[in-house]
C-alpha cells in the first residue's frame, strides 16, 4: 500500500493530471475495502447534488467575458480618477483595481494578463522602479481572493458546508488588511517619488464613471444582492453572467458574437478542470472519512499539540508548503474535508479556518516552485523567472506578515459575521 502511494506521488510529481491521481488513490482504497468501484462513478456524479455549485461556471464565464472586453481599461480609469491624486497613487490604483478584478474573475491568472498589461507600462512611464513594478503587478494578480464573489471562497463554502454569505463577510477585513499593508509598503518604497499622478478632478471622475456606466451596477447587484440576502449566490452569478454577456456582446459590442463560443469554451475548460477534481475528491474524501482518517489525524495531532495556537502554527506551515506545490482549487477540495474536523477539535471556527486557508494559499501563487503568478508574469512581461522571483520577494514577505495577523486574530475574520 505504501509502495503504491509512493508510485502515485511520483506520478503526480512527474505531471500526471491531478484528477487521475486522486481518482486512482480513491479506487485503490475502494478496492482494498472491497467496495464496488461503481462508487467512483457515483461519487463524481454527485457533483449534481451540491448546492450553489452553479455559481462557479457562471462567475467564471462572467469573468472571462469581462477580461476579453475593454472593461479592464475602464476599471483602471475609474480607479485612477478616484485614487490617482494621492502621492504614489498609481501603485494604489494597481492594488485596488487588481483586487477588485480578481474578486470578480476568480484567481486564475487572468488579472495579470488583463490588468497587468495596462498597469505595468503605465507604472514605468510614471517613473517607478522596474523591479518594484514587476513585483507589484505580479503579487496584485491574486490579491482579491478574499473578496466576494471570488471562486475560491465559493468553493470553500461548498466543500466545507459553510454559509457562503458568511464567508463573503468574513473576507472583507482580512482582504482590506492585505491591501492596506501592501499599500503602506508601496508608499514607503516610493517615498522619494511622491508626485501625484494628477490633481483630483471631479470632471475626470464623472467622465470615467460615465464611460463605465454599464459595468457600474455590477458590484451593487452582486454584493448588494448577496449581502442583503435577496439572492442566493448561484442566482447572483446567473444574473451577473447574463448581464455581462448582454452588455459586452450586444450593447457595447466589444466581443464579436463569433468569438463568444471560444470565450465560453475557454472558461468552461477551466471549470471542467476544477470540477472533475472536485468530483474525484468527493470519492477520496468519502473513503478517507469511512476509514477514519480525520479521526486518526486528530488523535495524532493531539499527542503532538494541545493548544489552538500551536495547532494554528502547524496549520500555517502545512498550508504554506501545500500552497507551494498545489493550486488553490485542488487544495480546497482535497485538504479542507480532512482538516475541518481537526480544526473543530481545537475550536477553530470553520469560517475563520476558511479565511486562513485561502489567505495562506494566496501566498502559493507567489512562491516557487509552482507559483502560477510568477510564471504568468514571466511569460507576459518577458522577464526571466529568477528576476520575477526576486522582484516579488518583498511583497511576498508583506503578504506573509498579513497572513500571520489573519491567522492569529480570528476576530478580524469573524467580526462582521453575525452570530459568531
Amino acid at each position: 500500500m505504501i509502495a503504491l502511494s509512493l508510485v502515485l506521488l511520483l506520478l503526480a510529481i512527474l505531471g500526471a493530471p491531478l484528477f487521475a491521481i486522486i481518482a486512482s488513490s480513491a479506487m485503490l482504497g475502494f478496492y482494498r475495502e472491497e467496495t464496488d468501484l461503481m462508487n467512483m462513478a457515483l461519487e463524481v456524479q454527485s457533483i449534481a447534488d451540491l448546492p450553489f455549485l452553479a455559481a462557479i461556471p457562471l462567475f467564471t464565464f462572467a469573468g472571462y467575458v469581462l477580461s476579453e472586453s475593454n472593461a479592464p481599461q475602464r476599471l483602471v480609469r475609474v480607479t485612477n480618477a478616484l485614487l490617482g491624486w494621492m502621492p504614489g497613487g498609481l501603485a494604489l490604483v494597481c492594488l485596488a483595481a487588481c483586487a477588485f478584478f480578481t474578486a470578480f474573475t476568480g484567481a486564475s491568472g487572468v488579472t495579470i494578463i488583463a490588468l497587468g498589461a495596462i498597469l505595468y507600462p503605465a507604472l514605468k512611464q510614471d517613473g517607478y522602479d522596474d523591479k518594484f513594478n514587476l513585483g507589484l503587478v505580479t503579487s496584485s494578480g491574486s490579491l482579491g481572493l478574499l473578496f466576494a464573489p471570488s471562486l475560491p471562497l465559493i468553493l470553500y463554502g461548498v466543500v466545507a458546508e459553510v454559509p457562503i454569505d458568511s464567508l463573503f463577510l468574513a473576507g472583507v477585513l482580512p482582504g482590506l488588511l492585505m491591501l492596506a499593508m501592501l499599500s503602506g509598503w508601496s508608499f514607503w518604497v516610493n517615498r522619494d517619488n511622491r508626485k501625484p499622478l494628477a490633481d483630483f478632478s471631479l470632471r475626470e471622475v464623472g467622465a470615467a464613471l460615465r464611460e463605465a456606466i454599464w459595468e457600474l451596477p455590477l458590484p451593487f447587484v452582486v454584493l448588494g444582492g448577496i449581502y442583503s440576502g435577496f439572492f442566493a449566490v448561484s442566482e447572483a452569478a446567473a444574473i451577473t453572467a447574463l448581464y455581462v454577456l448582454i452588455v459586452e456582446v450586444f450593447i457595447l459590442r466589444e466581443i464579436p458574437l463569433k468569438a463568444l463560443p471560444n470565450v465560453m469554451r475557454q472558461s468552461m475548460v477551466l471549470v471542467g478542470g476544477i470540477l472533475i477534481i472536485l468530483g474525484v475528491s468527493l470519492a477520496s474524501t468519502n473513503y478517507m472519512i469511512g476509514a477514519g482518517v480525520p479521526q486518526l489525524l486528530f488523535e495524532y495531532m493531539q499527542g503532538l499539540v494541545s493548544s489552538p495556537v500551536m495547532f494554528l502554527i502547524l496549520l500555517l506551515v502545512f498550508l504554506l508548503i501545500l500552497g507551494a506545490i498545489l493550486d488553490i482549487f485542488s487544495a480546497i477540495v482535497l485538504v479542507v474535508p480532512l482538516i475541518l474536523p481537526i480544526a473543530a477539535g481545537y475550536e477553530i471556527h470553520p469560517v475563520h479556518l476558511g479565511i486562513v486557508f485561502l489567505a495562506a494559499m494566496q501566498l502559493g501563487y507567489l512562491t516557487p516552485p509552482v507559483g502560477l503568478n510568477l510564471f504568468i508574469a514571466s511569460y507576459r512581461f518577458e522577464k526571466p523567472i529568477m528576476h520575477v522571483y526576486a522582484a516579488t520577494l518583498p511583497f511576498l514577505l508583506i503578504l506573509f506578515l498579513s497572513v500571520i495577523v489573519i491567522t492569529f486574530w480570528p476576530q478580524l475574520s469573524l467580526w462582521l459575521v453575525p452570530g459568531t
Binding site: 506520478l11 503526480a12 510529481i13 512527474l14 505531471g15 500526471a16 493530471p17 491531478l18 484528477f19 487521475a20 481518482a23 486512482s24 479506487m27 464496488d36 468501484l37 461503481m38 467512483m40 462513478a41 457515483l42 463524481v44 456524479q45 457533483i47 449534481a48 447534488d49 451540491l50 455549485l53 452553479a54 461556471p57 457562471l58 448561484s234 442566482e235 446567473a238 444574473i239 453572467a241 447574463l242 454577456l245 463568444l260 471560444n262 465560453m264 469554451r265 468552461m268 475548460v269 477551466l270 471549470v271 471542467g272 478542470g273 476544477i274 470540477l275 472533475i276 477534481i277 472536485l278 468530483g279 506545490i325 498545489l326 482549487f329 485542488s330 516552485p369 509552482v370 510564471f375 523567472i385
Partner: protein
C-alpha cells in the same frame, strides 16, 4: 487517414463547443428565468433547480473533455521548468498513459452503473430516466481515456523526430 483524423478532430471540437454553448446559455436563462418567475409572478418550475444542478454536472464533464483536448487539466507543474525538454516529454508519455488507464477504468464502472440505473428504472426530474442524465459519465471518461492515449502517442512520435522539434 490523416484527413479522417483531422475531420474527426474538428468535429469533436465543434461538438464540445455546441454542447458548452448550449448548456451555459441554457443554465443562465433558466436560472434568471426562475428568479423572474419567483419575484414577479410568485411561481416557478419545480424541476428547475434539479435541472440546473444536472447542467452543472454536464458542464463539468464536457468541460473536462475539452480540457483534455486543450491539454489544460490541472497538473503539479513541478518539473517542466527544471528538467530538460526530452525528459519532460518522456515523463508526459508515461503519465498520460497512466491517466488513460484510470479514465478507462472509471468509464467502465460508470457504464456498469448506468446499466443498473436502466435495470432499476431510476428517474430524475420527476419522470425522466436517470440513465439519460448520467450517460455523460461513461461517455466523458471514455473520451478522456481516448484523449490521453492520443496525447501520449503524439508525444511519442514527436520524440522520435530527428532534431527533436518541440511539440507545441
Amino acid at each position: 487517414m490523416a484527413t479522417l483524423i483531422q475531420r474527426l478532430d474538428a468535429f469533436g471540437r465543434l461538438a464540445e463547443n455546441v454542447a458548452l454553448v448550449g448548456l451555459l446559455s441554457g443554465m443562465m436563462l433558466l436560472a434568471v428565468g426562475q428568479i423572474v418567475l419567483r419575484e414577479f409572478f410568485n411561481t416557478g418550475f419545480v424541476w428547475a433547480d434539479e435541472l440546473i444542478k444536472l447542467m452543472v454536472l454536464w458542464l463539468a464533464m464536457v468541460g473536462s473533455i475539452a480540457a483534455g483536448r486543450d491539454n489544460r487539466h490541472i497538473r503539479i507543474d513541478l518539473l517542466s521548468h527544471v528538467l530538460p525538454d526530452r525528459l519532460v516529454r518522456v515523463s508526459r508519455v508515461l503519465v498520460d498513459l497512466f491517466a488513460a488507464v484510470v479514465c478507462g477504468v472509471i468509464a467502465w464502472h460508470a457504464w456498469r452503473y448506468l446499466q443498473l440505473e436502466i435495470e432499476f428504472e431510476d428517474t430524475v426530474l420527476i419522470d425522466t430516466p436517470a440513465w439519460i442524465a448520467h450517460s455523460i459519465m461513461p461517455l466523458a471518461f471514455m473520451l478522456l481515456a481516448y484523449r490521453f492515449v492520443v496525447s501520449s502517442l503524439s508525444l511519442l512520435t514527436a520524440q522520435r523526430r530527428p532534431g527533436g522539434e518541440t511539440a507545441a
